[in-house]
Structure formats: C-alpha cells, structure tokens
C-alpha cells in the first residue's frame, strides 16, 4: 500500500526487537472476541481509481463557476488569487501542527500575529484571537463570553441575525441556562432592541449587513446596552463589507464576530471556513481560543509564541473559557495572505466593486415585472420580494443555469417569509451574468 513504508521484512525484524510473535500479540488488551472484525468495505484502490470515483461524485454538482451565481446568505463567492492556494500548500504550513514548539513554528506564529492584527484593524477593535471554527460558532462563543464578563444570563438576539448563527448560539447558551430573547424576523420596519435590554441582559447580538442585506449603525444601541451594563456584540457574515463600511469598533461594539471565508477561502459547500473574533482589550482574559503574542528569544531576537493559555482547556480544563483546541489555522493563513495582497487600497476597491455589482443587479431585478427590491441601502447583498414562493423560483432558475439566491422559506422556515429572496453579487459576476439572471427571472415569473 503506497502510504505504508514498512515492508514485511521490516515488520518481522521489528517484532523480533520487541519480542512479540505476531502483531496481534500487541493487541492482547483488546477483548479477543472483538479483535479483527469483519469489515464490509472494499480493499485499497489506486490513485486513478479513487480519482475516478470522486470525480464522478463531483460531476453531479453544479459548480458555482459554471452558473450565473448570486447566492450568499453567509458564504460568498470571491476570486482568490492563485498565490494564496500555492502558499497554503507549502509543506511547512500544510503539514505542521499547532505551534506548540515555537522555536520551530515561527512561520505559523508570525502569520497568526499578522492575522490577529489584520482582524483587529478591520473590525476596529483592540485585540483579536487566532480564529474560531466559523462565524456561527464565534457568535455563540461571544455570547458565552459576555455571560462570563457580565455574570448575567439573558441574551437578546436581533431577528435579522443569520438564523444559523442564532440557532448555534441558542443551542450552546440554553444548555447552560441562559435565556434567549429574539423578535421575529422581518424586513419591514426596524426592531426595538434597545427596548428589550434590561438589567439582567448580558448582551445584545446584532448583525450588519444583516441577513437581509440591510445596513445599520449601532452607535445608539451600544450606548443603550452600556447604560444597562450589557455588552454589544456585532456579527457579520461578509468580511469584505468592512472595506466599505464603518467598523463595529467605531460603533462601540464590545465583541465583534464574523465569518472570514470571503477572504482567501473557497465556498467548499460550507466548510472549512474561518471565524473571526475580536474584542476590547480589557476582556482579553475572558476570550475563547488561541492567542499569539510577541516575545524575545535567548538572544533577544523578536519572536512569537502562543500565550495567555491559562484561559484554555489544556491548562484550565473544566474552568477554561472554551473547549476549543484545533481551530482554523490554514484558513487564517489563506485569509492573511489574501488580505496582505489586497492591502488597504485593494480591499477598499474590492468592497466598492462588490457594491457596484450589487447596485447593478438590484436595478436589473427591480426592472423585472412583479419584483420589488426591499432594501434601500445594502452592501453586496439585498432582498427582493417575489410574486410567488422563492423556493419554486430558485429551482426553476437552477434549471436555466442561474443560482438565484437564498429563498426566505429556506432561511426562515415557517416564518411567513416565503416570498422573499436574498440575493448577492460579487466581483466575480459579469454584466452578462446579471443580464442573464434578469432575463431568466422574467421568464419564470
């Protein structure tokens, strides 16, 4: 078998050194009647054969790049420079472990330090960690952290928070006795979250651009929350928006969480992605996840190490701020590389280009009879109201080679939002894609 270096000769020689008669002697602690079970699976296959089998499955999917593609709702299709994928495949990055031995892991540690700084700058916060699994788990961890900071158990969620983020948060928080308060989702009118904050409230969780693509300035809400001793947690699903929008930090957020997939990472049918987590420095000791910090070596040279690990499970065990261990290392690297390539000039231009594509798309769709664009303001994603259930429209358009967006009925099942369609545009959409979408939509309505 190509992956196994030992030859039969080696195995015999090694058993001799060990003083065992057979390999199964080494398994003597396993109940004999359970050893070497019958396994109903095929034997090993050549590379060629495995490739054929997996390519056959892949061929049954419609790749986003082969369609006119306008789906977002928490994951966005952006162009990732070839350099990014080349670098993350460097053996030294790809096949290394968590940097537990800093002297031979400076490559990983330095980019984590750069990543933390990039995230802090983008979100307008003081510190950021070395990543969480994704935006949704980062959101849940933020709520748990707010509970630790405030010693309170009441959580207010915006109805326009991505429902997956809300569900993950609810699943985690209710388990330890926290109560969740959340208005129904809706696109008409604004929700009064300030009014829901009381003296028991640990935090209020909001999102901008929200799940419908609407934009918000939470400065007032931050004041309201702080007035009651609650924390403001701002979430986002499209990190590119931070290139064009006022940062959550500026709005007064205490914790900022979001999805970093858009930068450096492919759609991957939902994962792996990279959760961004930033906060005010005063709360750093309550933060979950790994932190990389600067230090010096025995010669006084600058270097980096994992630090403040007394917060973490391997030291603090059941008192840890989180149970997270493996995080999104390589996805952080992809993020850091792509963001280093973009830089200030690139990310701001990219953000505006995304916005312009969305504006064009909104105008094109609005021109289709029966279609109404709900948002007056948006970044690269917005919501339209259709004359019939969006799910049917999306399926009909899929047959025409258009991936049209996220139907309200799928995003918010049973919430009576079935006529809504959440639509996204990015720099990858051509004007032809946009025209094709509008034309096809006209046909199916």
């Amino acid at each position: 078998m190509r992956y196994l270096p030992l030859s039969e000769t080696d195995r015999k020689a090694m058993l001799n050194v060990i003083g065992a008669g057979s390999v199964d002697d080494l398994f003597q602690d396993v109940p004999a009647d359970l050893l070497n079970p019958e396994i109903n699976l095929p034997d090993h296959k050549s590379e060629m054969e495995v490739e054929r089998a997996l390519n056959a499955m892949a061929a049954k999917n419609v790749a986003a790049g082969d369609a006119a593609f306008f789906l977002g709702a928490g994951a966005y299709r952006h162009h990732v420079p070839a350099t990014v994928d080349h670098i993350i495949q460097r053996s030294e990055f790809l096949t290394s472990y968590t940097p537990y031995q800093p002297e031979i892991a400076q490559g990983t540690l330095q980019y984590l330090f750069e990543f933390q700084t990039q995230v802090a700058l983008l979100t307008g916060m003081e510190v950021a960690n070395a990543s969480m699994y994704d935006g949704s788990t980062a959101c849940a961890e933020a709520v748990l952290m707010a509970g630790r900071v405030t010693k309170r158990k009441r959580v207010v969620l915006s109805g326009a928070l991505h429902p997956h983020y809300a569900d993950v948060t609810r699943t985690n928080a209710e388990l330890i006795g926290q109560t969740i308060v959340q208005p129904d989702p809706g696109v008409d009118g604004a929700e009064d979250l300030a009014g829901l904050i009381d003296d028991e409230t640990s935090c209020v969780v909001v999102q901008t651009p929200d799940v419908f693509g609407r934009l918000h300035d939470f400065t007032k809400l931050a004041e309201a929350a702080h007035a009651k001793g609650a924390l403001l947690i701002v979430a986002f699903t499209e990190v590119v928006s931070l290139g064009a929008l006022k940062s959550p930090g500026e709005m007064g957020a205490d914790i900022v969480v979001g999805e970093g997939q858009s930068i450096g990472n492919a759609l991957n049918f939902g994962g792996p992605y990279v959760g961004l987590f930033a906060a005010r420095k005063k709360y750093v000791r309550q933060m979950p996840g790994r932190l990389c910090g600067e230090t010096t070596d025995a010669e006084g040279a600058r270097g980096y190490v994992l630090t403040l690990s007394t917060r973490e499970q391997h030291i603090r065990r059941d008192k840890a701020t989180s149970n997270i261990c493996t995080n999104s290392g390589l996805c952080c690297l992809a993020f850091t590389i792509h963001m280093s390539l973009l830089g200030e000039a690139g990310v701001r231009k990219l953000a505006l280009l995304n916005h312009q594509k969305a504006v064009k798309l909104a105008d094109a769709l609005a021109a289709v009879p029966g279609v109404a664009v709900v948002n007056d303001a948006f970044f690269n994603e917005f919501t339209v109201r259709l004359p019939k259930p969006a799910v049917d429209v999306v399926n009909a358009l899929a047959d025409k080679g258009v991936i049209a967006g996220a139907p309200g009925g799928r995003v918010f099942p049973g919430a009576g939002l079935d006529d809504l369609l959440i639509v996204a545009a990015t720099e990858t959409n051509t004007d032809e894609d946009i025209a094709a979408y509008a034309a096809a939509l006209k046909e199916v309505l």
Partner: protein
C-alpha cells in the same frame, strides 16, 4: 550508516569562531529573517488588480467607512517572498518525524488535496438547490457509511468542526437524552480519568455538567474500584479515551460500559486515538454511545498548523434521535439535506452554520478509499508496531511509564533524567537541534515530566532507527552531565529558546505602529 559518513566526523573540528561571525543582514545562508507585513508593505501598494470601478452611484445609506483601516498591502512578489520565508521557519511532517503523542501526525496524501480542489466540491455553495448538489450529499452519505462501518455504530453526526466540537456534539446528545428521560436536573456529574485531555472536562463543563476525576491504577488504566465507587444516580456518563492518553487500551472497557449503562449513564468515548484500532476493533462492539473521530488525525486531513479539523460523531441507537441538524438522508436515488426537525427525530439543535467541513470530508474519503478495509487495518497494525518498536528501543536508556505492549503511543517519564539537571523541556529542545519535532511534553498529567511519542504508521524503520539512535544519544549525554547541550537548546533553530513567561506577563497581541508613525498619522 552513510548518513553518519557524510563528513560529520570532521564537522566538529572545522568549526572556528570565524565560522560564526555575525552576518550583516542577520540572515544565515538559507536561514532568512523576515519582518512583519506591517513593516514590509504600505497603504498604497496592492498585489491584486481589482477591475476598475465605474460611476454607479453608491447605495450605502450613510454608513460608509470614513478613515483608513491601516492595512498594509504587498505586491505579489513581496507577498510570495514574505510567506515563503516564514514557512521555512516551520517544522512539518513532510520534513521529518512529528511524534506528538495524541496528535496522530501521519502522512497527508496530496491526492486528498487534489480531490478537495475539484471544482465540483470546492466551488459549491452550501445553500444551492438540492438538485445542484447531489454529488456533495452523496459524498457526505458515503463517508458517513464508511465511518459507521469502521466503528460499528448505527449513526453519525457529520457537522462538528473538530474533535472538541465533536465532544460538544456527543455530550449535548447525552444531555438531550437525559432531559428526554426527565433526569436533566439530577444527572449532572460526568466521570473522566485524570489522564483525560483538557477538552473533555472543558466540554462537560460547557454542557453544564460537573466533572469528577477517576484515578488511574498502577497499570495506567481506569482504577475499576474507584470508578465503581463513583457511580450513582447523578452520573450522566463517563468520558473515556480508548486507547487512553497513556497509549494503553482500556482492558475493562466493556465492563465500564456495562456499569455506566446499568447506572443509567452514557459512555462517551474520545476517539482521538482511534488510529490504533481502525479495522482492529469497533467502538460499537465496546459499548460506546458516542465517539468523535478526528478526521485530521486518524484520516489524514492536514493539520495546517492548527486546523481546520473535522470531528464527526458516531452515535448509538440510544443517542441517534438527538443528532443535531442538518443531516443527509438518502431517498431511493436522490439525497436530501434535512435542515429542520422532521418525523420523530429530536435534534438537540444546531452546532454550526451549514453542513460541516466538506473540504475535510473529501480528503478523508479519499484516504479511506485509497487504503480500503485492508489498508486501514494494516495502517493501525503498523502504527502500533512502530510505537512498540520505539518503546522497546528507547527503554534501553529512557524510562517507560507503564508495562507494554502499548498501542500507538509510547509513554515515557523523566525518571531517567533524575539528578541530571536536565528536564523534559530541555530534552525536547535538544531534539530540535537534532532535526526532530519533540514528542508531546508534560501530557498526560498522570506521569511526571511526560514524553508521549506517537510515531504513526507513516514512519519507516530506517527513519525510526535514526530517531531512536538520536534520542538514546541524548539520554546518554544527559546522564553524562553534558547539560549545556540541553540548557542552550535549541541552538540551530530559527530562534533560540523563546520567553513564554514574558509573553504572558504583558501580552503584545498585535502590531502597533511605532510611536513616530503613530504621531505622524495623528498629525495628518
């Protein structure tokens, strides 16, 4: 042999001070220094040509960003060089043995990387209409089938994002099952061996359970008497790693499972060490109710310097109904992704956005199909053989903590360093100079100055022999009182020993512009 011939004899002598006069750049041949991107780049430079904007009016509704973010940009050549230089300061499996115990650092086949990048997998959105993702759902269903077959368990939850997330998934399912029996208020205690990995107690606590440690017996396994002592009506279950974190198989596992079940609790098995028994024994046969599988360990998806991982959780009949959303079901020839409660399923909730680590699923299935049932069994046998070989050879100079045979890991403690002034960490750092990544240090906590070595099946005998020769040499050096070699270590790494205490005392967690700059910026 010839390795030792390559001029080493003379290398010692030939070294004189001239050899080490500092260089002007601070580089040393191919050992290159590299500053932070913040020192290399600037706000004007960019390494991406974004197509030009037109005059489409903006619709940002007044919340656009006012001032600079402060992000440096690098041209593509600068970025390439920056990250390539950084990478060269890392150790990796592709460079040599990476014997971190409990981490299963095995070979990462590049076929897996190739397959994960096929556009039909990589360029597919999790919310596309089902008709356009049948192949993706088929892949998840197929991997699920392989995992269930290998573990002998009836169900599997695919969405957990790593091992610890899998633990959360399993313990949440247990909590849901207990609540369903109306025992939520009473069954609040979880038993776990002292040797347990930190994520176990952390997970239990995150689910609202209290954790109660079980001592180990002289053989390094669960002390059965103490364990039974601790059973009671308030016990929600046990979290047991098997093979355990000392690399030993828990002989009494079936008795443990039966006892816990008899007491009305559940058996959570930490599957981080599954690599020792894949194809050799099935957790399902051992009475396990839930076990996470680290695809990034047992099934070779790359560690990537700390992730991403993937931690599917196999579940028993008793826990299957509580599996989280979403999950894939096959209906005749088509596949469906269930995102909301349906039928008599009682999902405890949702663990993550979307459907889990698809990128890792592709890699893991590529690994499993490549090995097949025969190859996976052989891999486990080789992993165990390699560990026992290392245990046998190193015992000549080092002190093994427990009687063998061991499983996939060889555990040593620091007794052999007694009175040498050399500690486990010094020994580990000296290994770095010899070209090796140290084993896991100071874990598990049950032995003093632990050194936990997991070679995995990916190491050749030749590689292991050199590795053992080097460690035996170091052990003799330590005993011979050559402490410099250890205290000064690492001497040849990209950095000398780093001060972790200073780092934690006043944490510097991000780059800040040098004061002059900051002032200048403010001035603008």
């Amino acid at each position: 042999m010839s390795m030792n011939d390559q001029g080493r004899p003379t290398r010692g002598q030939s070294v004189d001070m001239a050899d080490f006069a500092p260089t002007f750049t601070g580089n040393r041949g191919l050992r290159l220094k590299e500053d932070l991107i913040f020192e290399v780049g600037d706000l004007e430079t960019t390494g991406v040509d974004v197509p030009d904007l037109d005059d489409t009016p903006s619709r940002l509704g007044g919340v656009q960003r006012a001032d600079d973010i402060g992000l440096p940009g690098l041209s593509e050549p600068e970025a390439m060089r920056h990250f390539v230089r950084l990478s060269r300061n890392n150790y990796a499996i592709d460079m040599g043995p990476f014997t971190l115990g409990s981490c299963t650092m095995k070979h990462n086949p590049r076929l897996n990387e190739k397959m994960a990048r096929v556009k039909g997998f990589a360029d597919v959105h999790p919310m596309q209409p089902e008709s356009t993702v049948q192949g993706a759902l088929e892949l998840i269903d197929t991997l699920a089938h392989w995992l269930k077959e290998m573990t002998g368990m009836p169900a599997v939850a695919m969405s957990p994002k790593a091992g610890a997330h899998g633990e959360l998934c399993g313990m949440m399912a247990i909590k849901a099952a207990i609540d369903a029996k109306g025992e939520g208020a009473t069954r609040t205690r979880v038993l776990a061996p002292e040797s347990a990995h930190g994520t176990n107690p952390a997970t239990a606590a995150q689910c609202g359970f209290t954790v109660d440690d079980i001592p180990a017996d002289a053989s390094g396994r669960v002390d059965m008497a103490a364990f039974k002592e601790k059973l009671g009506p308030d016990v929600a279950g046990i979290m047991l790693t098997n093979p355990n974190t000392c690399g030993l198989f828990e002989k009494d596992v079936r008795e443990i499972a039966d006892a816990v079940h008899a007491a009305g609790g559940y058996f959570y098995c930490d599957g981080a060490n599954f690599n020792a028994i894949v194809g050799k024994a099935r957790p399902g046969d051992l009475g396990v109710d839930a076990m996470h599988i680290n695809l990034h360990k047992t099934f070779s998806t790359p560690h990537g310097g700390g992730g991403p991982g993937s931690g599917p959780v196999v579940l028993s009949e008793a826990l299957a109904p509580y599996a989280p959303l979403p999950y894939v079901v096959r209906e005749a020839e088509t596949f469906r992704i269930v995102e909301n409660q349906e039928g008599d399923a009682r999902p405890f909730g949702r663990l993550t956005a979307f459907h889990g680590q698809m990128g890792m699923f592709v890699r893991a299935l590529s690994y499993m199909m490549s090995h097949g049932a025969d190859g996976m069994r052989q891999a486990s046998e080789d992993a165990v053989l390699n560990a026992n070989y290392v245990m046998a050879r190193l015992s000549a100079e080092m002190t093994a903590s427990y009687e063998g045979p061991t499983m996939h890991e060889a555990l040593f403690d620091d007794r052999f360093l007694k009175d040498t002034g050399v500690e486990t960490i010094d020994f580990a750092k000296a290994m770095i100079d010899e070209g090796y990544h140290p084993m896991t240090m100071y874990f598990p906590l049950v032995v003093h100055g632990a050194m936990l070595i997991e070679p995995t099946e990916s190491e050749s005998k030749r590689e292991l022999d050199t590795f053992c020769d080097a460690l035996l040499f170091l052990a003799r050096e330590a005993k011979a009182g050559r402490t410099d070699r250890f205290k000064a270590a690492p001497r040849f790494a990209p950095k000398r020993r780093l001060d972790e205490t200073a780092a934690a005392r006043k944490p510097i967690l991000r780059w800040e512009p040098p004061v002059e700059e900051a002032v200048a910026q403010a001035a603008e």
